[in-house]
Amino acid sequence: MTPPEPAVSVSDLRKQYGRFSALDGVTFDIHRGETFALLGPNGAGKSTTIEILEGYRDRTSGEASVLGVDPGKGSLDWKAQLGIVLQSTGESGAVTVREQLAHFAGFYPNPRDVEQVIAAVGLEEKASTLIRKLSGGQRRRVDVALGIIGTPALLFLDEPTTGFDPESRRQFWQLITSLKNEGTTILLTTHYLDEAAHLGDRAGIIAGGKLIDIGAIDTIGGADARVPLVRWVDGGVSREQRTTEPSTLVARLVRENGGVELDGLEVVRPSLEDIYLGLVAAYERSVPEPVEGLASTGSANGVAK
């Protein structure tokens, strides 16, 4: 039994703009069929990473392999296996949604059905509308539709749901779940941590060009960051306590309270968002003083793996 080659493999990836290190030694793998969420604050290096993997940017150093190919030297055969939803949408858009999708479908050897894709992104009503006449959120859905029209083996989603209303976001999640079920490997960046938690199998958190943590969605940040928090009000004073045994604590508090209900009782399990914010804040405290435009003086390797 040999392990399958990862869909994406990145090792000590670096990107230097003059003296500024946009990426400072990032290492991770994405397994085939996995949905990997790359999280981090603005300017942390998410888009730089994803654009290097898509072949849009050259790396300064390090290794990168996407579907077994160096993304800096990707052929058309290789591009036919990718689906790319870029962070920014543009285009003058003097074609209709249906025309654009049918046209792009022709680029790929094994495209999806145009009408089905239009329905999957919820644009049936707008299929005959010029793209330039769509709203921002609707255009974003066209971007997503163009990303999946070619039945990609690997789908890049760079902040795909920016500008979506909550209903569209739920619909998008369904679409991505069905792509996952078909075996599509997905690399997702997003600022919506609930989205990452809902869709992702694993996540990597990137800050200041370094990968500060990586792991399964339900274990990232380590056990300590996941210790539930019990909050209650005692004599008008808010109290809180972290404990791995919240039920025991609550039972004891009720007993001590003479069996009377506690005021304002809450048992909170840290969400991915709480854990993420904790990790990023801890990282920022650990960096001496971020000097604008200067390379950080960190060690060679991220905390990855």
């Binding site: 080659e5 849009y56 077994g68 036919a80 296996q81 543009g90 285009e91 790929y108 050897p109």
Partner: protein
């Protein structure tokens, strides 16, 4: 490790996709109001203005002694200007905009061959340029009573001057689209070039009346030759004497335009990038 194998794309898709691009490009072209006006209808507007403004003037007489009208006199120049506008101006601005607005970045992420993209652009120019020329000829003949040539040899000359001129103009447009730093600056870079060329190449001003040094400069550029080729088709035979060296010099037209075509093609292939990496 079980490695990933990437299936090969079928052969022969470059031309097929080029055809699909042409359809897409032509459709989008006619939906852009500004390109339709400034590149497609512009020569027609200019022909109408010149023909009306100088309607009482004679521009010489043909062999039979009949007056040559303003419309007849300006028709070849406007046809040549149409070649330049439909090809060079249209594509240089269009592609610079596509680079700015993310169209090219999106295409760069798909398995569309660059050559198919070029075919789409050149095809668009051929189709719109042909429609523009047909409209010019129609309006000249019907509205301004210009007698069009009847000899097949003249139309043969027209056909090759048109095809060579418009494709040359198209590849030069693709090559020039690299120059503007943004879509917004594209018209500012391209329009002056196109305008100056039109003034020194015998489109608006009579070429034989320009000073020799200016004629020599214009002769370096292809528009002068395209205009000369068009004059050979549409002006009376006795006008040949007014040409440089007293000859239509169609061999020169083919050679000069052909050289620009080859140079333009090489520049396109060598310099064209979907995106400016790392910008």
């Amino acid at each position: 490790m079980t490695t990933i194998t990437i299936p090969r794309l079928p052969a022969g898709r470059t031309l097929k996709l080029g055809g699909s691009r042409i359809v897409n490009e032509v459709r989008a072209y006619f939906r852009q109001g500004d390109s339709v006006f400034f590149t497609f209808l512009f020569p027609l507007v200019m022909l109408t203005i010149f023909s009306t403004a100088f309607s009482n003037q004679s521009f010489g007489t043909d062999a039979a002694g009949d007056d040559v009208s303003a419309a007849a006199y300006y028709l070849p120049g406007m046809l040549a200007a149409g070649l330049l506008l439909s090809g060079l101006q249209n594509l240089a601005v269009d592609i610079a905009n596509e680079r700015s607005d993310g169209t090219l970045k999106r295409l760069a992420g798909t398995p569309l061959p660059v050559v198919s993209y070029f075919i789409g652009k050149i095809g668009q120019v051929l189709v719109t340029g042909a429609a523009q020329a047909a409209l010019l000829l129609l309006v000249a003949a019907v509205a301004f009573g210009v007698a069009l040539p009847t000899e097949p040899t003249k139309w043969f000359t027209f056909a090759w001057v048109f095809v060579l001129g418009v494709t040359t103009s198209a590849v030069l447009g693709i090559a020039l689209s690299r120059v503007p730093r943004s879509g917004k600056s594209a018209t500012a870079v391209v329009i002056p070039i196109v305008l100056v060329l039109q003034f020194i190449s015998g489109v608006y001003l009579t070429f034989s009346q320009l000073p020799d040094w200016l004629q020599n400069i214009a002769s370096v550029f292809p528009l002068k030759w395209m205009a000369q080729g068009m004059r050979a088709v549409f002006l009376p035979e006795n006008f040949e004497a007014a040409e440089p060296g007293g000859l239509w010099n169609l061999e020169g037209v083919a050679l000069a335009t052909g050289i620009w075509f080859v140079v333009g093609l090489v520049v396109c292939r060598v310099t064209f990038r979907w995106i400016r990496k790392d910008s």
